[in-house]
Amino acid sequence: MDWLSSYKLPIGQGAKAFVDWLTTSGEWLFNALSAVLQASIDLLLFLLQGPFLKGTAFEQLYPLLIIVLISAFAWYMRRSLGVTLFTALGLLLIVNQGYWKETTETLALVLAASAVSMTVGIPLGIAAARRPWIYAIMRPILDLMQTIPTFVYLIPALILFGLGMVPGLIATVIFAIPAPIRLTRLGIISTPPSLVEAAQAFGATPGQVLKKVELPFAMPQIMAGLTQTIMLSLSMVVIAALVGANGLGVPVVRALNSVNVAKGFEAGLCIVILAIILDRVFRTSDAGDVA
């Protein structure tokens, strides 16, 4: 079998050359992108952690204020006493366990990743629905993004963005963004042709057809895309911790390295609580709701 391995096809070399090329020629782009993403995460952290209160008497109270706000939001979204109560108690338990700071970091990462995924994913989904050839190009890429082991693209993310929150965010977005793209496209192409024709018959422009017919029709699917994005992002916290992102993944990784069962369990529980809250609050109402 020597003949088969005597000449190794330079696939790995090729990938490396590509990343090298990106690093040198795209440096300014990645720096700019990195700065923008870092700034948005910093803003979220600023709001969630309230560093301006440091050293004042209100420092201890700030987490409670945030918990009240999040619970109120849960009530606004769901109008359910159960969900609101669970949200409040779950977050209080996290504070009690001493993981509030990590939780806010994870929340900031998840929110930023979801926002990026949705703002980029929805337009891409619309484009894919409009032009079959765009979708033909996109499809294998989306498949690749979802199947390639996350660790593989953590390496170039590290090289391009350095250590910290941003590469974690990028890795999370790569993993999550296929969901909103696919679901947005699905929602739009499943708009009944008769509705589109009716709009055209009343003189709608293509933009009006999109805005007044297709997007509203696709809205349940787009919202399902949002829920999925949030959950997929949350499932990346531990992996994001490996490239230096702060959050609940850090104690998990540390517990793993020091074989610390107690710590691992606490951090894991916090992730589960956060997952349940986000799922309950953002979950689209059960299928069949929209006729």
Partner: protein, 350 residues
Amino acid sequence: MTAAVTFNNVSIIFGKDPDAALKLVDQGKSRDEIGHETGMVLGVADASLTIEEGEILVLMGLSGSGKSTLLRAVNGLAPVVRGDVAVATKAGPINPYKTSAKSLRDFRMHVVSMVFQQFALLPWRTVAENVGFGLELANVPEEERSRRVAEQLELVNLTKWANRKVNELSGGMQQRVGLARAFATGAPILLMDEPFSALDPLIRTRLQDELLEFQRRLKKTILFVSHDLDEAFRIGNRIAIMEGGRIIQCGTPQEIVKNPANQYVADFVANMNPINMLTAGDVMETGIAASASETPVSGNAAPTTPLVDILDALARKPGNIGVVDNGAIIGTINAQNIIEGLTRHRRKDG
């Protein structure tokens, strides 16, 4: 009378290479043959037809005969590849295929509007928001819009339902929303593609009556697609019968019943129920029948009295009905005359 819509040798073909298909159209080939040889789908072949202002013209034919396609040529939604469409507007005739994108949108907002078989309402909107859809697209200011929507809701009797979601309504009510949406733009020309086919028979008749009632008041020009001859006869001033993309015959219901152009039309006519289109004048025996002196006269009628009223009268009181015009008896009707009248369209000799 003035023409509202004129089709002049309109051909409609679905596919990438219409010229190849047109050649075969000119050789008189059928849709199947054309599809077989070129892979194109023949929608409509060389249709010429004039729709007069204020009339209801019904397009009739079996499924796939090209009715919906021809209807969509009026507002530029079907791919017309040859021939002319002219639609009268205040600013002169417009051909939707030869006008700018902007003026086509304007034309669709103000000149023609459309009612659909499956209603095509936006389910996430309320009744009022659906009725105002066309006005919203035309950027009519909020205030005027809600005024005009309220007017239309009043007309179709749905004021109480204004703020409900459309899918809370029954099929018949949903189609009244569809009608109100079409009326709301004030367009003088109405395209109706089997608007009542999805409704159950009782509701269908009721909406047909309502449509005729609106028409008496609003005097629109209506192009109406149906595959039900009874419906066509009930509401159509004229009927155009289509087969395989071609118009076979066009005329008033009476003309079509008297003189079916070919076997296809005759088959349609043979299967219809003429009871609603016949009048006393159609079935009477002219002059004073010999038998009339023996059986009692049970009532009088005018020549235009609907046959159903005569049937009711005879059911209450058997005998002869005298048909009176200008004070003189011009004919009589007995049970035998009615049976002959009801079955005349089935006999070849007419």
